[in-house]
């Protein structure tokens, strides 16, 4: 069994460009530290809202249970209430009937919030290129990470969440509301 080498640069890392002096002054030491701390705490205790809609939900549950135990990374228990969650994992087929609910759940989440589209259906409609299925949850809400698979392995999901953590780390300024 061979493994593919990932080609090119990591698409998740946003390389910083040269900044003007004013910009650098604005991001002074104190703020940067607070920023970094905020980001560190955020990325290490993401509380997911599991939007388990179909098959992928089972693999998502698999990722949270004994074998893969996502709690190791501080992604604690499922939060079924959107108010208490900051990461939405859309796992499964988003149908047209379900779409408004997905959107509402996302709106109810408090900032800062992130979205992972797990599996082909949530990413792009997947095998269901039909009248009933929303062709990608990004038609409804902004998606940060796409995790391919049908369904993805729990490892794939964890990898996706790792990538999300990298992304949070790379975010310019922590969003404070």
């Amino acid at each position: 069994m061979i493994r593919l080498e990932k080609k090119g640069r990591n698409p998740f890392i946003v390389y910083g460009e040269e900044k003007s002096i004013e910009e650098q002054l604005r991001r002074n030491i104190l703020l940067t530290t607070v920023d970094a701390m905020l980001k560190w705490s955020r990325r290490n205790s993401l509380w997911p809202l599991p939007l388990g809609l179909a098959c992928c939900a089972i693999e998502m549950m698999g990722a949270f249970f004994a074998r893969y135990d996502m709690a190791r990374f501080g992604f604690e228990v499922f939060r079924f209430s959107p108010r208490q969650a900051d990461l939405m994992i859309v796992a499964g087929t988003v149908t047209r009937k379900m779409a408004p609910i997905v959107k509402r759940l996302y709106d109810q989440m408090s900032e800062p919030k992130w979205v992972i589209a797990m599996g082909a259906c949530a990413m792009a409609g997947g095998p269901y290129n039909s009248y009933a299925v929303v062709q990608g949850v990004d038609n409804l809400i902004p998606v940060d990470v796409y995790v391919p698979g049908c369904p993805p392995r729990p490892e794939s999901l964890i990898y996706g969440i790792m990538k999300l953590r990298e992304k949070i780390k790379q975010e310019r300024e922590a969003k404070i509301l």
Binding site: M1, I2, R3, L4, M123, A124, Y146, G149, P154, Y159
Partner: protein
Amino acid sequence: MIGPLIKGLTITFKYIFKKKFTVQYPEERRELPPRAKWLHILQRHEDGKERCVACMLCASACPTEAIYIVGEENDLENPISHGERYAKVWDLDLGRCMFCGYCVEACPEEALAMTDEYELAVPTRKDLVLHKEDLLVEPGTPPVKTWLGFYRKEPIGAMPVTRPMEVHVEYEEYLKRRGPREAHE
């Protein structure tokens, strides 16, 4: 009161000393079985030419229409694949693919195989479309024997492709005679 508590704790202690069931994923990557059906690769012949001849059987076998191929005629002087045609475009759409492996089964050239590469998360939807460049292995990569061609007995190296160079028309020969202009001028 104390009885059930002790009973419950016995189970707890029983599990404390058992082998850990949890896989420490990012550090410890579990070996997948050889039949794992994850990301596709496009293989090459031993001489470095591409195996894919754009016969489009994989695209037609795909239940979700995740594969898109445009065939093209090989360049006269340095052919890209054996045979007359090669895939100019070979796109795999992970946004549709359900990793059923039917494409690998369909491939009459053993050009397609599936690997155990499951770490596929990408940041944008555009990245979900993998092109031929992303999937093609480096020349010299040892061939993957796909289990979906399970009914095959011989090892992959000794296998002739559908249009082998030795058996049919001497390929290089007729490449030289090619060219419509030559034919009528």
